[in-house]
C-alpha cells in the first residue's frame, strides 16, 4: 500500500510540476496584465509541436532527412520561439484591449486557442504523434527503491522544480522582480517613476508564454504530441490558479505541486475521482477563502 502511494505520488508529482510551471506563467501574466490568458494551454501545445517540428521536420524542409534538432537544443529554442510568439500576440492583439473589460482579452486568447488548435489539427491530425527525440541519456528507468521510475520523468521533475525556484527567486528577491511586483500593484505610479511599463508588460507576457512553451517541450517525450493536449490541461491549470490565488507566484507553484500530488494519491483510493478532486477542492477553496489560499484579501 505504501509503495503504491509513493508510486502514484511520484506520478502525481510529475503532473504537479507541470501544473506548477503552467500556472506560474499564468499567474505572472494575470498579475501584471490583468489578462486571463486562455491561450496558455495552446501555447503549451505549441511548445510540444515546436520540439516535434525541430526534431522531425526542419531537416526535411532543408532537404537533409538525417538532420534533427534534438531535445537539448529544443529545450532552449522552444521557450524562445513560443515566448516570441507570445510577444507578437501581446504587441499586436492584446495591447488594444487593455482599456476594455478583461473579458475581452479572455475572449481574444480563447480565439487564439481555437485558431492554433484548428491549424495543428489540419496539419497534423487530431490524434497524437509520439516525440521521437528523447535523448539517450534520459532513456530507461531508475530504481527509486519503491518503484522503477522513468529517468526522463525524474529529469522533468527536477528540471521544472529548478525553473520554478529560479523564477520565484527572481520575482521575490531581485530588482527586476521588485519592478514586476510594483507594476502589478500600481502600474501607473511605476510609470510615473520613469519605468517603461508597456515594454515590461510585453516582456512579461513573452516570459509567461515562454514558460508554457518550456512545459510543452518537457511534456512532449512523456505524452504524445497532439493539438488538443493543451485543451485538457488549461482547465486544470485554471483550477490550480484559482486555488492558489489569482496572481500569486508562491500560490501557483505550491498549489500546482500539491494538486498534482493529491490527484495522484486519489488514484490509489478511488481512481474515478482523480479527475474531479481538483475541481472539488476548487469549490471548497472558493467557498472558504474566495481570494485563494495564497491570494491577498480584497
Amino acid at each position: 500500500m505504501l509503495k503504491l502511494l509513493l508510486a502514484q505520488g511520484m506520478l502525481g508529482l510529475n503532473n504537479g510540476v507541470f501544473y506548477a510551471m503552467m500556472s506560474l506563467g499564468l499567474a505572472v501574466i494575470f498579475g501584471l496584465l490583468n489578462v486571463v490568458n486562455f491561450a496558455h494551454g495552446a501555447l503549451y501545445m505549441l511548445g510540444a509541436f515546436v520540439a516535434l517540428i525541430l526534431y522531425s521536420y526542419v531537416g526535411l524542409w532543408f532537404g537533409m532527412s538525417g538532420f534533427h534538432i534534438g531535445f537539448w537544443p529544443a529545450l532552449i529554442l522552444t521557450p524562445i520561439i513560443v515566448g516570441g510568439f507570445g510577444i507578437l500576440i501581446e504587441r499586436f492583439l492584446l495591447r488594444w484591449l487593455y482599456k476594455f473589460d478583461p473579458i475581452y482579452s479572455l475572449l481574444l486568447t480563447f480565439g487564439v486557442t481555437l485558431v492554433l488548435q484548428g491549424l495543428f489539427v489540419n496539419i497534423f491530425s487530431a490524434s497524437g504523434t509520439p516525440y521521437p527525440g528523447m535523448p539517450d541519456a534520459l532513456k530507461g528507468v531508475v530504481n527509486l527503491g519503491f518503484m522503477m521510475f522513468p529517468k526522463f520523468r525524474l529529469f522533468a521533475i527536477v528540471f521544472s522544480l529548478i525553473v520554478c525556484l529560479i523564477v520565484w527567486y527572481v520575482i521575490e528577491r531581485t530588482k527586476v522582480g521588485a519592478l514586476l511586483r510594483a507594476g502589478t500593484e500600481n502600474p501607473e505610479l511605476v510609470k510615473a517613476f520613469g519605468v517603461n511599463v508597456p515594454l515590461m508588460v510585453t516582456l512579461t507576457f513573452g516570459f509567461g508564454t515562454g514558460l508554457a512553451g518550456l512545459a510543452g517541450v518537457l511534456a512532449a517525450p512523456i505524452y504524445s504530441v497532439s493539438p488538443l493536449m493543451g485543451a485538457d490541461l488549461i482547465i486544470i491549470i485554471f483550477a490550480v490558479v484559482v486555488i492558489g490565488g489569482m496572481g500569486s507566484i508562491m500560490g501557483a507553484v505550491v498549489s500546482g505541486i500539491a494538486l498534482g500530488l493529491i490527484e495522484g494519491v486519489t488514484k490509489v483510493f478511488y481512481a474515478p475521482a482523480a479527475n474531479t478532486v481538483i475541481f472539488f477542492l476548487m469549490v471548497v477553496v472558493l467557498l472558504v477563502r474566495p481570494s485563494g489560499l495564497f491570494g491577498r484579501e480584497g
Binding site: A178, A182, E185, A192, F193, G194
Partner: protein, 236 residues
C-alpha cells in the same frame, strides 16, 4: 520679477475619460522655490500634479520644464527627462515590497541622488524598519518612505501631494522641518496642501485652485494681509 521658471504650465487642460477636470491651469515655479496649490477637495489640485506627470487620460495646453515642452512626452519618460520626483496623495507604498525595495525601486532621474546613508540620516525611523513590508508601516513611516524614495532618484523638482494628511502633529512638524531642509538645499517643490498652517511658513507663493482653474495667486509675504480672502476660498 521671478527668474525663468523651472516648471511652467499654461492653459493646462486634463481629462479622466470623458470628464474634463482641468480647464486651463497656469502655474510657474523658479528653481529653488516652493509653491503650494490650495483649494477645496475636488478643486483639481491633485489632478494638476497628475497632469504634469502624464497620469491622466488626456492633457492639452503646455507644460515646460527647464524650457522644454513636455505636453507630448510619453508618460514614462516625463520623470527622467524632467528630473521630477512625484509623491502621490495615497503615498503609493508598494505592499509587496519591503522598505528597502521600495526605496530602491524608482530609477535615477538625476545626478547626486541621496545615498541610503543620507536618507537614513534624514529619516532615522526608516532604517529601523528597513526589512519590513510596505504595508506594515505606520502612516508617518509610509509618508517618509514615499518622500525618501524620490530623493534617492536625484530628482530636484518634487511634486508632493497632501503629505501631512492624516498624520499626527509631531510627524507633521518633522515633515515640515524636512521640507525646510530640502528647500535650503536648493530643491524646487510643489506642495498640494490642505493644512494651510503647515504650508504658509514654507511657501514662496500660493495658488488657489477652484473648478480646475487658478483663481488667485498670493505671494508668500502677502499671506497675513490676505487671510480673509484665503479663509473665504478654503471654507467649506
Amino acid at each position: 520679477m521671478m527668474a525663468a521658471p523651472l516648471l511652467k504650465t499654461s492653459g493646462l487642460n486634463a481629462w479622466y475619460g470623458e470628464s474634463h477636470v482641468l480647464h486651463g491651469v497656469d502655474i510657474e515655479i523658479a528653481e529653488g522655490e516652493l509653491i503650494t496649490l490650495l483649494g477645496r477637495n475636488g478643486a483639481g489640485r491633485t489632478t494638476t500634479l497628475r497632469a504634469i506627470m502624464g497620469m491622466v487620460s488626456r492633457r492639452t495646453g503646455s507644460v515646460t520644464i527647464r524650457g522644454r515642452e513636455f505636453i507630448d512626452v510619453a508618460d514614462h519618460r516625463i520623470a527622467p527627462l524632467g528630473g521630477i520626483g512625484y509623491c502621490p496623495e495615497e503615498r503609493g507604498i508598494f505592499a509587496s515590497l519591503n522598505v528597502e525595495e521600495n526605496l530602491m525601486l524608482p530609477p535615477s532621474v538625476g545626478k547626486d541622488g541621496m545615498s541610503l546613508d543620507e536618507i537614513y540620516r534624514m529619516f532615522p525611523n526608516l532604517k529601523e524598519v528597513r526589512k519590513r513590508m510596505g504595508t506594515r508601516l505606520s502612516g508617518g513611516e509610509q509618508q517618509m518612505l514615499a518622500i525618501a524614495r524620490i530623493l534617492r532618484t536625484g530628482a530636484k523638482l518634487l511634486l508632493l501631494d497632501e503629505i501631512t494628511e492624516g498624520l499626527a502633529p509631531v510627524i507633521v512638524k518633522a515633515l515640515g522641518e524636512a521640507i525646510m531642509r530640502l528647500k535650503a538645499q536648493g530643491y524646487t517643490i510643489v506642495l498640494v496642501e490642505q493644512n494651510f498652517r503647515f504650508a504658509a511658513p514654507l511657501a514662496d507663493r500660493h495658488y488657489v485652485i477652484e473648478h480646475g482653474r487658478v483663481i488667485d495667486r498670493i505671494e508668500g509675504g502677502d499671506v497675513a494681509a490676505s487671510m480673509d480672502r484665503l479663509n473665504h476660498y478654503l471654507s467649506v
